[in-house]
């Protein structure tokens, strides 16, 4: 339960920072940045909870999430100069958010008694939707559709969770490993420019 909470907060913070950085790059005002930070951070989980019927959605019942988003917003705002020394910062936080959100989404699906393939899809939706919302609101083609391994990293990590579980690995270990797979595959794909084939 504590690990679950920690993972959810880390995922929220990573997405929040990625949303704030993207909004800062687009020169929104301080309040626009806050709205976009919030939408990116809680977008995926909100859609997940709505589709499961787990309402009021998570961030409404949980002051912690709002606090995490707000603190992440302030940190990004004050330390953006340092963050800009690392040109891939946005992509790295986005990858970490994707990893945590995938596994948290998948576990919420399990709690709701859904089948493994649906849980993997739900993890992908949780992982991808915040970023899709961020990109659509900033009037860009969603990152998830540019030729790149993104949603497929989430899908792979989600599927491996069930492989790990079938080996009777304890849930916290399976979860941690799955997060690492998602983040690792996503970052490796960026580093070495892995592509999926595009049918001609």
């Amino acid at each position: 339960m504590l690990l679950h909470q920690l993972m959810e907060n880390l995922g929220t913070a990573s997405f929040a920072i990625s949303g704030a950085l993207a909004a800062l790059n687009k020169r929104l005002d301080v309040f626009g940045v806050l709205v976009l930070t919030f939408a990116t951070a809680v977008g995926g989980g909100t859609v997940r909870d709505i589709m499961i019927g787990n309402t009021p959605v998570a961030w409404m019942k949980d002051q912690q999430a709002i606090t995490v988003v707000f603190v992440s917003y302030l940190i990004t705002l004050f330390f953006r100069k340092y963050l800009q020394f690392f040109p891939r910062t946005l992509a790295i936080f986005d990858a970490i958010g994707l990893g945590f959100a995938t596994v948290v989404g998948l576990q919420r699906g399990l709690e709701a008694g859904l089948s493994p393939s649906v849980c993997v899809a739900l993890g992908m939706v949780t992982g991808c939707f915040g970023g899709v919302l961020r990109d659509v609101l900033l009037n860009e083609i969603p990152l998830v559709f540019r030729k790149d391994i993104y949603a497929s990293a989430s899908l792979l990590g989600g599927a491996l969770y069930f492989v790990f579980a079938s080996w009777e690995m304890a849930a916290p270990w399976a979860a941690t490993l799955s997060v690492m797979v998602v983040v690792g595959v996503r970052l490796a794909a960026m580093q070495w420019k892995w592509d999926l084939p595009s049918p001609k």
Copy 2:
């Protein structure tokens, strides 16, 4: 119940194929095509179920829908060369999807005890939202807003369902006729370029 299931699957498959074809035209990679196929196929029904409060939403409780989407995806991928000989293929599948989704959405509204006018609106949302999502994600102006008979075909078919029902027509017949009206009006509008007036 069987007819209901059949109609829902035919609508899902038609929308899935229309989503896959649109994504192939935009040269997304194989995984991007899969995501778009899925979003187009289940988008309308997902929004419908969420608004009624029928959660977890249909495709989560129903392995069949996921199978239909995946098979439609594979078929489109492998037979795209043949499908391309028919330049209007995308529009035809979209029209068929619109017809089935309209009537299935409307019937779900009836099951939820909603009033006829709300059921007609719900049928329209079910029919239109998958396509809107497809177009927004591909960064195009939704087909439904281009000057053309589209949502209005859904509305007409939905309204006629209640006319047919008031004639004491059996539900399966009213449903079949309504689907035919939607598909027929939509295809005729495309063929003969019917337009609604635009206020100046």
Copy 3:
């Protein structure tokens, strides 16, 4: 209860007119204008109800809302020539809609037992989402993100509601004052071009 209903209907009508005017400016056909009117008018409340789990969503259980939208649509269609003499008409109706929707959203949150800060956020979502939907569907950058006081007016009015309540002001008075704050701040910001700072 009566005041609540009145406020909800006034907000719905204001947003409906703003949606219809925006669609007319983009030269959509009569049916496209209707769809956009509807989406703008009920979009925010729909997202609010879905996130709280208050389903079927308000407009489905309430013939009144559909009637208000339809009458607003007809009024805008027939009197658009007169409305065009007032170049800021769209923005003024949008501001009024924002005010009412903020307070109605906030009160629905209170009824659902949510905390004050979540209620303020919910008021903002209710107030902003219809307009975001209008702008996204018309392929424009949401008004809420252009450099301008918009969502922040909603947030201020929402926060003041709880200040007024803490002074033991009766709910109808607190609500009326909050609506006036939102509308006033929004209109003043437009008039004197108030801006929030944008971090460099």
